[in-house]
């Protein structure tokens, strides 16, 4: 067997093993992806649609993911970009997506008080501008460091920091009013 065919066999074998573990890795990240998607879209069902789009995109572009880099950040970035595209086309279609008072209740069933309080959070989140909402979600819910969150969003760390603070302040004001 000459060198070229050895190399090509290695590449081939590697591609096969990679593909298996790649899909398993994506599967492992799905619970977190669903959480982020529900936060972005404001609704679990819309979130799962966004997840589905993300998975499809991730599978068709998996050769663009560089092994050794974080798969989660890459997938979050894909999801976030898909959502931005989606919101742009929604607003072109004149935004009738989720009525503000539609039952959101992301937390699912619970005590009556809990449901009300969860809805307040959902409503407040949905009133934030997209850039502030994603900053709040990535740092305060997903637990990313500012630098990682900034890379997912594609902005400087300082910008991420200030969006986070503005989003946080707006949320606190809205939740205080609602309380």
């Amino acid at each position: 067997m000459d060198e070229t065919s050895v190399a090509s066999r290695l590449i081939h074998t590697k591609a096969r093993t990679l593909k298996i573990s790649f899909e398993e890795q994506v599967l492992d990240l799905l619970p977190r992806m669903r959480r982020f998607a529900a936060g972005l879209t404001g609704h679990p069902a819309d979130g799962d649609d966004l997840c589905q789009m993300t998975i499809e995109r991730v599978l068709t572009s998996q050769d663009k993911w560089q092994e050794g880099t974080r798969l989660d950040s890459w997938m979050y970035r894909i999801m976030r970009n898909l959502w931005i595209d989606e919101t742009r086309s929604r607003s072109r279609r004149s935004q009738t997506f989720v009525a503000e008072d539609a039952g959101l209740g992301i937390g699912g069933e619970g005590a009556q008080e809990a449901t009300v309080e969860l809805s307040n959070v959902d409503r407040a989140m949905q009133k934030l501008p997209e850039d502030q909402r994603e900053a709040v979600l990535l740092v305060m819910v997903e637990g990313y460091a500012y630098k990682e969150a900034a890379e997912i969003v594609g902005c400087p760390v300082g910008t991420l920091n200030s969006r986070l603070v503005r989003g946080r302040d707006a949320l606190m004001a809205m939740l205080e009013d609602a309380a």
Partner: protein
């Protein structure tokens, strides 16, 4: 330096553990001595806790099957071709053509199939056109360009010893086998009004199923595929 030098952004960053070194110590001391700053830090952390708790239940729920399934069975069969073929043979319940008409077929996908040629009932030209033929002639599974219009899914030999290649493009895919005339298209699926993603998902799986039925053995590995290309896809 006074406490007023500490911006809202910096205070938030400190509360999130983003600041280290001397500056972190300075802010820590300032917060300890300023009830106003303390209250801000507490509010920041309280909101973080509240949001985390709010969204936590979603990540604890089981992932719906419709999402997990995208990552589970079909593609695994594609990868482990031989095992999938064995499994298929062991528990084959349906005649080979039934998946075409069967209700399990994705409703959005229009599939036309050219089964072993009888000559008179094959509509249109059964041979691949120039562009497709070029891809079939030259592309190898192992090293094809990811952005290629047509991707070769795998290569194999059929019962007659001919080299066959399963391929998928943005709008259509199928299986073509090389005979003396050219690349004879055996099975073809085409996306209808659906987007390409749906096609890739549903169509490619159907094509793989058909390939598994047609193949006489395992799919060619990279070496065997390269050798077959070298030989012009002519069987011995």
């Amino acid at each position: 330096m006074s406490n007023t030098d500490i911006t809202q952004e910096e205070l938030a960053a400190w509360a999130d553990g983003e600041i280290s070194g001397a500056r972190a110590l300075f802010i820590k001391a300032a917060v300890a001595n300023d009830s106003g700053l303390q209250a801000q830090v507490e509010a920041h952390r309280a909101l973080k806790d509240r949001l985390s708790a709010h969204f936590a239940p979603i990540a604890e729920q089981p992932v719906p099957d419709r999402l997990a399934d995208l990552l589970r069975p079909k593609d695994a069969e594609v990868v482990d071709f031989a095992a999938a073929k064995t499994r298929l043979e062991e528990k084959r319940r349906l005649p080979r053509w039934s998946w075409i008409a069967g209700p399990a077929l994705a409703a959005s996908l229009a599939l036309a199939v050219f089964l072993p040629r009888t000559g008179d009932d094959v509509p249109g030209d059964p041979y691949a056109g120039t562009q497709l033929a070029a891809a079939l002639d030259t592309q190898l599974v192992a090293d094809q360009d990811a952005s290629a219009d047509t991707r070769i899914l795998l290569s194999f030999q059929n019962n007659g010893g001919e080299f066959c290649r399963a391929y998928a493009g943005s709008e259509a895919g199928g299986i073509a086998c090389r005979d003396d005339t050219g690349w004879r298209i055996e099975t073809m699926g085409s996306g209808s009004e659906t987007g390409r993603t749906e096609f890739r998902q549903a169509g490619a799986a159907q094509i793989m199923a058909a390939a598994q039925d047609m193949a006489a053995g395992d799919a060619l590995d990279a070496d065997a595929e390269a050798a077959a290309r070298e030989a012009g896809w002519q069987a011995d």
